[in-house]
């Protein structure tokens, strides 16, 4: 830009102009203190210089003087509305606030006054990825590419835009053109190999599997991720129904890893046996022989066998586990429990096996203290794991009394085994006896204080039992504890979703609504962070060429807010807000007092007062967690806009493609909002008439 075109307000004499360039340089190298000094020297002479004001503001924002900085940025922009620097700075400010929408508006403004500025274009393109504005991305990436066609990431960046717009042909073309610019393709280069695989992914997603296979074969030698080539090849061959070749491909995969169930399913389909139980049986018998250590080869048949075949298969599977003492035996078989016949089969097999043990090793009617080990043909642990299995089995099928009987026997047998106490706790929890359950879990914890898993469970069970302070003390044995000596703050920092959710739900049950809402909000903030965290990858992944992993990230983020932990906390929060709306405090009190005699009324008031006092009493451990000025969430509880607050939790769920249409919270909120609107309309109508 020539000096003549510079507007008067922006013009700086050569000396100050040099200082301004220095400010920019110091900012880039993060020497904020020096940069501020230089900026101030310019401002003493030209106190209204917009770009300097904006830069000073930006630096203040990064030096933890956000409010002052924000004001200066705005002032700077007002003083020089046509400066791309001022707009860029404003965009950077919004970006640091993770307000991506406003940030991208600012960049668009900035580009009006500097259409070819690569830095701004690059920053804008990152925001467009974040906002999933693929059309916009294509435009900005095109400009960048035309400026610097020799950089790989600018080609992939543009291909990404077309790919996301489902314009597979153009996406592929862009990558091919890039390959043409290379004199010789780099050998054994991971980034180049990833690029080739990304191209292959695009071809496959375009639906032309035959060409994808062809392309895959053509790049196979250059690709470093051999497994991925093998997996894609097998998948493509199967989809193309080139079955003999697919069989070979899956065999090769199984030889590499005989525990990947997908490979087993692949080979079933390649052989065309997936709908024929007899043939499947024969196949798995052969596979189990070939891959002796593969669990999948033995466990998959359990899902399709029935009758006597099932019994035989499950018997050898289970007995092997029980004699080896595999604590997870039940967890492995749990998926079969949807099928009643199978449950019966398993029960018979385990009970029969137990009978063969009852003469030895159970320590009850077995050998006494001086009995010789020679008489025992079964280890006592086999008996132990068997009754442990039965306890879990009966608990699962809704027979808590039998479950208790077996687990009590197991605890008498070996009271030092952590697992049996944990199982007892779970059985009691299912029965609804949360206090006894947490006592059992505590007994498990006492046996191994360094086991974080048991510690976590013990804390969770304490919260279920409403023992707020104890739970915090227990969980704090494994956290970085602050001045109060408790780890609640650290658990926020570590994004311990389970803890925040459980504690929130416990507070809800205890009537501590503010704290409950506070925790649900903390869960939402973590998810918002995860949404924001992808920002860094828009640049990083494209630059490093790890496009397949990046695509995985983008697609995962699309389903983020339908993850169990989010929906659980969000629905808890929405429910709480809705009940705050449905029965405001005053209405609750009035409803309770209606139709009572004077005497009863007084009594009820006293009781309510006691309850309130209880709910308002907060222990030390509840007062911590979070650095804000409302640690107890009182502001949230006393909100004047409960429906809008609830909506904040609902919106991100509804924005996910994966949300379950049976979730009715959106309607519940909308219904009440309509009623509210109708009422307001009526009110205003009343007033005007």
């Amino acid at each position: 830009m020539s000096a003549a075109a510079v507007p008067k307000a922006r013009y700086l004499p050569p000396k100050e102009a040099g200082s301004f360039r220095q400010v920019l340089q110091l900012y880039e190298t993060r020497q904020y203190k020096k940069a501020l000094k230089v900026a101030d020297t310019i401002l003493t002479k030209f106190p209204d210089h917009g770009e300097t004001l904006a830069m000073k503001g930006l630096i203040l924002c990064f030096s933890e003087k956000k409010e002052e900085g924000h004001e200066l940025i705005k002032k700077g922009l007002r003083n020089d509305l046509t400066s791309f620097i001022c707009w860029h700075v404003y965009g950077l400010f919004y970006r640091s606030e993770r307000n991506f929408e406003e940030a991208s508006k600012c960049y668009v403004h900035a580009l009006k006054y500097a259409p070819d500025n690569t830095n701004i274009l690059r920053d804008l393109s990152l925001l467009q990825c974040q906002m999933r504005n693929w059309e916009g991305l294509i435009t900005s990436r095109k400009t960048i590419l035309s400026q610097k066609p020799n950089v790989r990431q600018h080609w992939t960046g543009l291909a990404l835009g077309y790919h996301m717009m489902k314009n597979y042909e153009l996406a592929e073309n862009i990558l091919s053109k890039y390959e043409e610019t290379l004199k010789e393709p780099p050998k054994e280069d991971y980034e180049h190999s990833e690029l080739l695989l990304y191209k292959n992914m695009i071809i496959y997603e375009s639906g032309n599997v035959a060409r994808a296979l062809e392309h895959l074969e053509s790049i196979a030698d250059q690709v470093t991720d051999k497994l991925s080539v093998m997996e894609s090849r097998a998948k493509y061959l199967l989809e193309l129904e080139r079955l003999p070749e697919a069989t070979v491909a899956y065999r090769k995969l199984l030889n590499r890893n005989p525990d990947n169930k997908e490979y087993f399913f692949g080979i079933e389909r390649a052989l065309g046996v997936q709908d024929d139980v007899e043939k499947r049986k024969t196949l798995y018998r052969a596979l189990a022989k070939q891959y002796k250590h593969s669990d999948a080869a033995k466990s998959i048949p359990l899902s399709f066998l029935s009758g006597e075949d099932f019994r035989q298969a499950v018997k050898s599977y289970i007995v092997d586990f029980l004699t080896k003492g595999v604590p997870s035996a039940f967890v492995n078989l749990k998926p079969l429990y949807d099928d009643e016949a199978k449950v019966k089969g398993i029960e018979d097999v385990v009970l029969e096996f137990l009978k063969t043990l009852s003469h030895a090793g159970n320590g009850v009617n077995g050998v006494g203290q001086n009995g010789s080990a020679k008489e025992k043909d079964n280890s006592p642990t086999t008996y132990l794991w068997t009754i442990y299995y039965l306890a879990q089995h009966y608990s699962k099928i809704g027979q808590p009394d039998l479950a208790c009987e077996y687990i009590t026997k197991a605890i008498e047998h070996t009271p030092t085994l952590v697992e049996v106490h944990m199982a007892k706790a779970k059985i009691l929890k299912r029965k609804g006896d949360h206090v006894a359950a947490s006592e059992a879990m505590t007994r498990a914890r006492e046996l191994d204080l360094q086991d974080r898993f048991v510690n976590t469970k013990a804390a969770k069970y304490l919260m279920r039992a409403g023992k707020s302070d104890e739970a915090v003390s227990v969980v704090s044995l494994f956290t970085k504890n602050d001045a109060h000596g408790k780890g609640v703050g650290d658990l926020h920092e570590m994004q311990a979703l389970w803890f925040l959710t459980e504690q929130g739900e416990m507070f809800n049950r205890l009537g501590k609504i503010g704290l409950a809402l506070k925790r649900f909000d903390a869960v939402k903030k973590i998810y918002d962070d995860w949404w924001g965290d992808q920002f860094d990858f828009h640049q990083y992944c494209v630059r490093r060429g790890t496009m397949r992993a990046y695509l995985g990230l983008l697609r995962w983020e699309e389903t983020l807010y339908t993850e169990n932990f989010y929906t659980r906390a969000a629905f808890d929060a929405i429910q709480t807000y809705i009940s705050l709306y449905d029965t405001p405090k005053s209405a609750r009190v009035a409803a309770e007092l209606e139709g009572l005699t004077e005497e009863e009324r007084k009594k009820a008031m006293r009781k309510a007062k006691r309850e309130r006092a209880k709910q308002n009493k907060h222990s030390e451990s509840e007062k911590i967690g979070g650095t804000d000025d409302d640690p107890l969430g009182k502001n949230m509880e006393n909100t004047s806009t409960p429906l809008e607050d609830a909506e904040q939790f609902w919106k991100p769920v509804a924005a996910c493609a994966t949300w379950d249409q049976s979730w009715t919270w959106g309607e519940e909120i909308a219904k009440r909002k309509e009623q509210e609107a109708a009422r307001v309309k009526l009110d205003t109508a009343d007033k005007t008439t």
Binding site: Q369, A373, K376, T414, L417, D448
Partner: protein, 159 residues
């Protein structure tokens, strides 16, 4: 011997102290104080847990007795030895005691001894079976029993 049996000893630590507590409380008639358990952490190799297929099932806890006069010998006293009943007969108690005898040798201690209730025939036989000698009778040793129980001293000299 049944197949797949693995017996191993391991140290007593602050994290598994609850195991010693649990084993003693279900096997032994006497109960021990919190401070006794806390002190168990300071006797080093003289307290051990025994594992059967990775499950803790037995424990020994001794103390080193330094006599007031240097004329008397230093001895190791077995305060508690317990194995959960289903796991008896596998040589676990033997392994625990052998470990203590070995320590005694290393420490140049000449004697390991313990008290056994006169009516506990199984224990009396067992200690003698593994080479302990029955010594004098201590009348009224178990004060908390009603009537107070007598005990034999069982000792093993270390060469």
């Amino acid at each position: 011997m049944a197949p797949n049996i693995k017996i191993a000893l391991d140290d007593l630590t602050v994290n598994n102290l609850g195991v010693l507590r649990r084993i003693n409380s279900v096997v032994l008639p006497t109960s021990y104080s919190d401070s006794w358990y806390k002190d168990s952490l300071s006797v080093g190799e003289l307290a051990k847990l025994a594992y059967f297929n990775d499950i803790p099932v037995g424990a020994i806890r001794c103390s080193l007795e330094t006599p007031p006069s240097h004329k008397d010998q230093t001895r190791i006293y077995i305060m508690t030895l317990a194995v959960l009943s289903p796991y008896r007969g596998y040589g676990i108690g033997r392994k625990l005691v052998d470990h203590i005898l070995e320590q005694a040798k290393k420490m140049f201690v000449k004697e390991v001894y313990c008290h056994v209730w006169v009516e506990n025939d199984d224990a009396l036989t067992w200690y003698q079976h593994i080479g302990f000698e029955k010594g004098e009778l201590v009348t009224g040793y178990y004060k908390k029993m009603t009537p107070a129980g007598d005990a034999y001293i069982l000792r093993k000299a270390i060469e």
